[in-house]
């Protein structure tokens, strides 16, 4: 709706231009032209507003209500009670912390690993295509399947591959740690890093390959060493690509449900916000509290995204400016 009202003033300028181009045609025709322009956009825009924005408005309303499906007679206005309960609840506060750790951990580690691997793959060598294909594979395994793979085939203390390898190396008396119980959060982070490093690597590799090579060669001839070239030419060029992969990675990892649900079922202190909300709503049927937690997540996401989008919007501006 706001989009439409904004475009009204803009449309005048468009109409003026259209009028200048087509000479003296009727106002009716010009308005029709505007709608011809806007028309193709409307189905997608209306669809998105109805399916994503409308439910969120309802979530906001429910977040101010007492509404638990187990106590249908208790329904009513609750004010800020849900928010107070969510923010003072130790579990939810822990879930906020887990979400931050999980997202920052996965995004940072896979970004650094992805950069190193992208630098390795930026060179020409025998089998580069094959290595690239191998690298992509983790990203193509269905997330639930990947989480099952880590939980059962790799981490399992009695028959998982990790402990099997330890026995190969150190013999029958090798230590056999229970990875998930000992380091539940790291177990999830590690599995997600495996899945997300390929994504970061692919974007950064595309960035590396779009560098102007002649300029870099000239710098090499002028006596700049490898580190200087990397620090003062490659890294600044890669900045936008690093920002883009961090932003997209964060969007997806913040919302991660599959890995937490599959590997630990939110146990051992690994419940992140999406999992906690899922439980509050799906298991505990406390709709008011689940909605309040959802609203808090959205506020947090918007705060971070506004900051992040500013840097990414420069990326898109440059791209569209061409």
């Amino acid at each position: 709706m706001s989009v439409d009202s904004k475009s009204d003033t803009g449309a005048k300028a468009g109409r003026r231009r259209a009028a200048a181009r087509s000479g003296s045609q009727g106002t009716m025709m010009r308005t029709a032209g505007d709608w011809a322009r806007r028309g193709p956009l409307l189905p997608a825009l209306i669809f998105m507003i109805v399916v994503t924005q409308l439910p969120f408005v309802v979530t906001i309303i429910v977040s101010f209500m007492n509404w638990n499906a187990y106590y249908p007679d208790d329904r009513g206005f609750a004010g800020f009670a849900n928010f107070r309960r969510v923010l003072t609840d130790a579990n939810t506060r822990h879930a906020i912390w887990v979400t931050i750790l999980l997202t920052a951990g996965v995004v940072l580690v896979s970004l650094v690993l992805g950069l190193l691997i992208a630098l390795l793959l930026d060179r020409r060598f025998r089998g580069r295509g094959a290595v690239r294909t191998m690298m992509i594979t983790p990203f193509l395994v269905v997330p639930v399947a990947a989480a099952l793979l880590w939980k059962h085939a790799l981490y399992n203390p009695t028959y998982g591959l990790f402990n099997g390898v330890l026995k190969w190396i150190f013999g029958a008396n090798a230590p056999q740690p229970d990875w998930i119980s000992n380091q539940p959060l790291w177990s999830i982070i590690f599995a997600l890093v495996w899945q997300w490093t390929p994504f970061m690597m692919l974007i950064l590799l595309a960035g590396l390959q779009s560098r102007p090579l002649d300029v870099i060669e000239a710098a090499g001839i002028d006596g700049a060493n490898q580190w200087e070239i990397f620090r003062y030419m490659t890294l600044p060029h890669l900045r936008q690509y690093l920002e883009l992969s961090a932003l997209l990675g964060s969007i997806y990892v913040v919302q991660n449900f599959d890995a937490v649900f599959t590997i630990t079922s939110g146990g051992l202190g690994t419940a992140n916000l999406p999992y906690t909300i899922y439980q509050t709503f799906y298991t505990a049927h406390d709709y008011g509290r689940a909605s309040a937690a959802g609203v808090i997540v959205v506020i947090g996401t918007i705060a971070i995204a506004t900051f992040a989008l500013r840097s990414v919007s420069t990326l898109f501006r440059e791209e569209t400016g061409k």
């Binding site: 989009v3 904004k6 803009g10 011809a36 806007r38 193709p40 189905p43 997608a44 399916v51 994503t52 924005q53 439910p55 309802v58 979530t59 429910v62 630098l119 390795l120 930026d122 060179r123 020409r124 060598f125 094959a130 290595v131 690298m135 992509i136 983790p138 395994v141 997330p143 639930v144 399947a145 099952l148 793979l149 059962h152 085939a153 790799l154 009695t158 028959y159 026995k167 495996w194 974007i203 590799l205 090579l213 060493n225 490898q226 070239i229 690509y241 883009l244 997209l248 913040v254 919302q255 599959d258 599959t262 999406p274 899922y278 709503f281 709709y287 959802g294 996401t301 990414v312 919007s313």
Partner: protein, 281 residues
């Protein structure tokens, strides 16, 4: 110095370059190893799959696959195919005109509209799930594949709009002007002038939407039950299964991942461009 220039210019050389190539190979193998392990385990018998230390050379068998298929996964695979394909078709039908309106002779404030689309991806889906659940419950729409189709369409529409817009902005304006001089209508211009140029873009957008829909778990788990259950939800049945079924779990994971693996390998190059919303060429 020479090995340093290698990395920068991509020229081949001996010595350091050789070591780095070896490191690249090792890293690649490490990343693919878990998947290969899953593949190998899926072909082992259950007792051999659960051995520690693992028995790599154990005889191969199809038992894991047989026991997976005996659990009746076909309805859920069919549901996944239906919801992924139909939502992808809907996404393209909605996104293509929208991307056209945002790229070639764009509407005013087109960047705002574009960022509105992206911002919907930043809203955590859990925050909108409850009202959708309540609405579906009240109109008897729970456990219905069409509910998933609509939600998957909304999930992928922003990505497709961004991607297609970046492809469409590569269509030369001259061609479009020529078409309009010749008196072609909008629909005709889209169909015969624009569509052929962006067909590869549409194909890769469709592929990515298919993959995301196929992979989705949260909506499917909350909103479907027995009738409309999808393949990932079927897989969650193995979350608590114990060691005796490792081969079966691996076989199940391989079967469910297969469509995505095939599609992904087939379109490796387009994948990055699509996943980065067209920002990386």
């Amino acid at each position: 110095m020479s090995s340093q220039v290698t990395i920068v210019t991509g020229k081949k050389n001996r010595g350091g370059g050789f070591v780095l190539s070896g490191v690249a190979w090792i890293v690649g193998i490490l990343f693919v190893l878990p998947v290969l392990w899953m593949l190998l385990t899926s072909f082992h018998s259950e007792p051999n799959a659960a051995k520690n230390p693992p028995d790599v050379a154990a005889p191969l068998t199809l038992d894991g696959y047989r026991s997976f298929f005996s659990t009746g996964p076909w309805p859920s695979i069919a549901n996944s195919l239906t919801s992924s394909i139909l939502s992808t078709v809907l996404v393209i039908l909605l996104a293509f005109p929208a991307a056209y309106a945002l790229s070639i002779r764009p509407v005013r404030k087109w960047t705002d509209v574009l960022f509105f689309f992206l911002s919907t991806k930043m809203l955590p889906v859990v925050a909108g799930l409850l009202p959708i659940y309540l609405f579906a419950q009240s109109v008897g729409f729970l456990d219905n594949i069409w509910l998933l189709i609509i939600l998957y369409t909304s999930m992928n529409l922003p990505i497709a709009v961004w991607m297609l817009r970046s492809f469409l902005s590569e269509v030369p304006v001259e061609i479009l002007e020529a078409a309009s001089v010749d008196g072609a209508s909008l629909i005709r211009t889209l169909r015969s002038v624009v569509a052929p140029v962006v067909t590869p873009g549409i194909a890769s957008a469709a592929l990515i939407c298919f993959i995301f829909s196929w992979n989705e778990l949260l909506f499917a788990r909350v909103l479907t039950g027995t009738v409309a259950q999808t393949a990932p939800v079927f897989l969650t049945g193995f979350v608590t299964s114990q060691g005796l079924f490792l081969a079966k779990v691996c076989a199940a994971s391989i079967v469910v991942s297969l469509p995505v693996l095939i599609a992904g390998f087939a379109a490796q190059d387009k994948l990055v461009q699509g996943l980065s919303l067209g920002a990386v060429k």
